[in-house]
């Protein structure tokens, strides 16, 4: 039986980060993944392809907005095959690069699916049809999550998309229904909307992006409501029925009244769930939570001391950057370092237009938990840069501990907000105070000034808005 010091199961942003870090520390590493190269959902079927398409969407939207500035373009001609090809080339470049990096680090990369046969051994069903047994000293499970499906919606239809098939751009539907008002649905809905589809969203809860502060979501809702065909809140889908020219969707509105509509395509984006099936965890001492996540401690160690778990499979939030940070902690723990996964903030970004992002606590959470806080907001209407972009539909807000001025949370909505949140995350991690942000010179004219000015608002001294500090 082959032996390895460390086996990493799954080579997404958590798994490949773990494998690379371990190899750099001198460990003998085997990485197992079904795809040809490392990358996982993030690179193959998630973050990267969706952002490539969202970039295109942004361009298309801006050509329309340009009319407002006196510049008009003809309707764009969209070559879907070429667009798909370009998106695939982006993915190919990234994953291919990772494959090279893995080789350079002398990582034994096996294309296949691993199943634990004990706390020390694995069986690998390789893509080429052969199987291999592997004995390991330590294992890191980084197998990720899969798309949540609802059996009642599982109709055999090429018109029913999920977040993976939607990225393959099968067509530009006339009318698209997005089930679920979460970030995946809104991002993909935005892409199709920009490409020319009439997009509707149906969401159970009373608002889009449940959990986010409403004052941030409001900017996004306003934009989406204007662009999309229809936003149906507090409504739900009863059934889907495949018809020759579309899918007939039976729904129920917020008053409980049933209604139906026909869409060319339906995109179900309900959520993701941990991918523990078939891992053979029953042959180890690894325990899972009720929701199917693998239970880990702060060192990402499972109940089986030889086995670690990181990324989506180890719990929320299911975000690539959380996974790669956890990867480092797990590998360092294996290497004998004293370390722990203890971030003060994990930034979350919704790449819609405008982008919406968050780090640290939300105002809603602070209020619900009775955490002493003050909110300082800087509306982008007062930002010079936002005005030059003709995009004043943004807001930067800070959640501040009034006792010491420390930044507890940062929320930003607006175009490019995803880049700005990094400063907020750093501020929280550094234990920075609003004063620190205020006293840091920010370049003018940029959107980053809104962070500084929000801090100034806290002290009642913002240059560009007048809001005296409450006594």
């Amino acid at each position: 039986m082959n032996k390895t010091q460390l086996v990493v199961i799954g080579a997404g942003p958590g798994g490949y980060a773990a494998a690379f870090a371990a190899a750099d520390l001198g460990m003998n590493v085997t990485a197992i993944d079904l795809d040809k190269n490392p990358g996982g959902v993030c690179l193959y079927r998630g973050c990267i392809p969706s952002k490539a398409l969202l970039h295109v969407a942004k361009l298309l939207n801006e050509t329309k907005e340009a009319a407002h500035w006196g510049i008009e373009f003809d309707a764009p001609k969209i070559n879907l095959d070429k667009l798909r090809e370009w998106k695939s080339s982006v993915v190919g470049k990234m994953t291919g690069g990772l494959g090279v990096l893995a080789k350079q680090r002398k990582i034994n990369y096996i294309q296949g699916r691993a199943t634990f046969t004990s706390s020390k051994t694995l069986k690998i069903d390789k893509v080429d049809g052969t199987t291999e047994e592997l004995e390991f000293e330590k294992a890191i499970i980084a197998i990720g999550s899969e798309i949540t499906t609802i059996p009642a919606f599982n109709i055999e239809s090429k018109r029913l998309l999920n977040s993976t098939s939607a990225l393959d751009l099968p067509a530009i539907p006339q009318r698209l229904l997005v089930i679920g008002g979460g970030y995946i649905g809104l991002e993909l809905g935005s892409v199709y909307n920009a490409l020319g589809s009439k997009v509707s969203v149906i969401e159970m809860t009373p608002g889009l992006l449940p959990g986010a502060d409403r004052d941030l979501v409001q900017h996004l809702s306003k934009m989406i409501t204007a662009k999309f065909e229809k936003i149906m809140l507090e409504s739900k889908v009863i059934s889907l029925e495949d018809k020759e020219d579309g899918i007939l969707v039976k729904m129920q509105d917020k008053n409980g009244n049933p209604f139906e509509e026909k869409y060319d395509y339906v995109l179900a984006s309900i959520g993701r769930r941990p991918n523990t099936k078939g891992l053979g965890l029953e042959n180890t001492k690894v325990k899972t939570t009720q929701r199917g996540f693998i239970a880990v401690n702060k060192q990402l160690q499972t109940d089986d001391p030889n086995i670690f778990a990181i990324g989506d499979i180890a719990g929320d939030p299911m975000l690539a950057h959380k996974a790669s940070h956890e990867a480092r902690v797990a590998v360092e723990t294996i290497a004998g370092h004293r370390t722990a996964f203890e971030p003060l903030a994990i930034p979350a970004v919704v790449f819609t237009d405008p982008e919406l992002c968050w780090a640290g606590i939300t105002e809603t959470e602070a209020r619900e938990k009775g955490i002493k806080h003050e909110v300082a907001k800087f509306p982008w209407a007062a930002s010079g840069r936002a005005t030059t972009l003709d995009r004043t539909d943004g807001l930067t807000k800070l959640i501040i501990d009034p006792d010491n001025g420390r930044i507890l949370g940062v929320g930003i909505c607006g175009p490019g907000a995803g880049e700005l949140i990094a400063e907020g995350t750093l501020a929280i991690e550094m234990g920075a105070t609003a004063e620190d942000l205020k006293l840091t010179i920010h370049p003018h004219p940029t959107l980053s000034e809104t962070v500084m000015e929000a801090a100034e608002v806290f002290y009642g001294q913002s240059v560009h808005i007048y809001r005296p500090k409450r006594k």
Partner: protein, 577 residues
């Protein structure tokens, strides 16, 4: 205006302080800016000036007690006023006016400052002009609830216009009786958004008061009688689960998933203000960063703070550096945790006597800092024992007791003259050797309080009788707790004679900063091979421990040989002593 003085904000992160001194007492007349208490914070001792003036009724701060920020320091008699006005009232009337009269005035004053008077009828409050061309706005947040008493300038609504988020301050004061808008709802400029039971005297409000019913003017009048906050029910994926279940989906399990934006790490509001790299270092060093005092602004913790804290922690365990010998370097030894002895049987804990704890400390220090070597030898004392017995009565007459110890003092003194490196100390700090030109010998005495080492001074100037008498005196003093500091310090060399009790050899610990100690055990008759025959001789076991930093092995054995030979042939004392 207040009739109390509360502990004001003292600085960032300071939530309480220890009162080190109270500078006022009941009946005192306090002026604004007069220091009233002295407090100690983590950072400094501060005098706290009063912000009120008047006659002190009761002082609540106690010396040595803890005061939280905002706690009442003292109360004033009668109507307190701030600053200038008080100057007049205070000087004359305070002392003359009887206290009760003033107490009565207290109540209404307080009410009027804390809450606007609630009188008069119910009125509408209208949404003021928000800006050019703005006729309506989205209410992003209602900042008050029914029953709240609001004052002029209290922020009431947060509204979103096309341009910006604006807070709408109140132009009136009174008690809120009805709210006509809701979070996320629309409000029209010039139309009522709430009703208050107001103070009729407030006439300056810019919004014209209307008597018509506002309900008709507002699209969706809603009476909110629960706190507004509760409107934002956490709308999460929990509900999505419910939906899934309704759709007969078995995929999701019972543990409620959290929605995307809520998946933040738990807030550690008390978490130390430190950069991630600093927190990582603390973890690696096994330090709870929340315990580390930060030296930066707002208690910010630096890498240096962590290092200083770790150093302090280590020193706080056992510090083996008696302050008397700081030049000898220091040793940090971690105190091992003691097991719970009572698990194994009955125990009794007693406080260490001072002398025991000092002995422990000093010997630990000596043991840890002095590189010890012990050299053994035997001296044939057959002849000198005979002589001792012969001369004992002479000494006894003088009030002393001629013992082997007194003889050894004499012999050692001679040896020290011969080998000056034994009458010396090490100064590692200065890299110097201190040679002593005087001869003081310490004698270890076993007392019921513990080990004591009285010192015989100038033994080179004493004969055996004087030495014997002096040993007697000092031992008595030590046993009767009469030994003074002078009797216990200034030693050059120590002798520990356990021969009276027994034993063969032992390894005494050098009484640093001395550099050697002679251990004496019980003499025994032994067969000694002399001139082709074994003859019984009285042999005395000697153990010499020395500080190898200064004394080398060859010197030590020469020193010890000198002692043995002198004991064997005391005439040496006359020749070389």
């Amino acid at each position: 205006m207040s009739n109390e003085f509360k502990l004001p904000e003292l600085g960032e992160n300071i939530t309480s302080a220890v009162v080190s001194k109270v500078l006022i007492k009941a009946g005192d007349t306090v002026k604004e800016d007069q220091s009233v208490i002295e407090i100690e914070t983590d950072k400094a001792t501060i005098e706290v000036p009063s912000s009120v003036s008047g006659k002190v009724k009761e002082v609540f701060a106690k010396e040595g007690g803890q005061l939280n920020i905002g706690a009442v320091v003292f109360s004033l008699e009668g109507e307190a006023q701030s600053a200038p006005a008080v100057e007049e009232t205070k000087e004359t009337p305070v002392s003359e006016t009887p206290a009760p009269a003033k107490t009565e005035t207290k109540a209404p004053v307080a009410t009027s400052t804390e809450a606007p008077k609630v009188t008069g009828g119910i009125k509408d409050v209208l949404l003021p002009e928000l800006g050019e061309n703005i006729t309506s706005a989205i209410v992003s947040k209602v900042l008050f609830k029914v029953g709240d008493v609001i004052a002029i300038d209290t922020p009431l609504l947060e509204i979103e216009t096309d341009k910006a988020t604006i807070e709408v301050p109140s132009t009136v004061s009174g008690k809120v009786v009805e709210i006509l808008v809701k979070d996320g709802g629309k409000a029209d400029v010039g139309k009522a958004f709430m009703k208050i039971q107001g103070d009729d005297t407030v006439k300056s409000a810019p919004a014209p008061v209307q008597s018509t019913k506002p309900a008709a003017q507002v699209s969706e009048p809603v009476v909110v009688d629960t706190p507004v906050e509760s409107k934002y029910v956490r709308t999460t994926m929990d509900e999505l689960v419910v939906m899934n279940e309704e759709l007969k989906s078995p995929v999701m399990t019972a543990e409620p998933p959290r929605a995307f934006m809520e998946m933040q790490p738990p807030l550690q509001s008390k978490s130390a203000p430190a950069a991630p790299s600093v927190r990582r270092l603390a973890r690696e060093l096994g330090v709870d960063i929340n315990q580390v005092p930060g030296s930066g602004i707002g208690g910010r913790i630096s890498i240096e703070d962590i290092k200083a804290y770790v150093k302090k922690l280590n020193e706080g365990r056992i510090t083996l550096s008696p302050s008397s010998y700081p030049q000898s370097g220091f040793v940090n030894i971690k105190q091992e945790a003691l097991p719970d002895f009572s698990k194994f049987g009955e125990i009794e804990r007693k406080a260490m006597s001072n002398i025991r704890s000092k002995t422990a400390e000093h010997l630990s220090y000596a043991w840890a800092t002095v590189p010890h070597v012990t050299q053994f030898d035997k001296a044939d004392i057959t002849n000198i024992e005979e002589m001792r017995k012969t001369f004992a009565p002479v000494v006894q007459k003088a009030g002393g007791k001629l013992t082997m110890t007194s003889i050894l003092v004499k012999v050692v003194t001679a040896a020290l003259k011969q080998f000056p490196q034994f009458n010396a100390s090490v100064d590692m700090g200065k890299k110097e050797i201190v040679y002593k030109k005087y001869f003081n010998i310490g004698i270890a005495v076993d007392t019921e309080y513990g080990l004591m080492v009285p010192v015989l001074k100038n033994t080179d100037k004493m004969n055996l009788t004087q030495i014997s008498v002096e040993i007697n005196n000092l031992s008595e003093k030590a046993r009767n707790k009469k030994a003074g500091i002078d009797d216990l310090q200034g030693g050059c060399f120590s002798i520990s004679n356990l021969g009276g009790i027994g034993g063969t050899y032992f390894t005494p610990i050098v009484n640093t900063p001395e550099v050697a100690i002679l251990g004496v055990s019980r003499s025994q008759l032994e067969p000694v091979y002399i001139d082709g025959n074994f003859v019984p001789r009285n042999m005395l076991p000697l153990s010499l421990s020395y500080d190898h930093r200064l004394v080398d092995g060859a010197d030590a054995i020469r020193f010890l040989r000198f002692i043995s030979e002198t004991l064997e042939n005391p005439f040496k004392l006359l020749v070389e002593g």
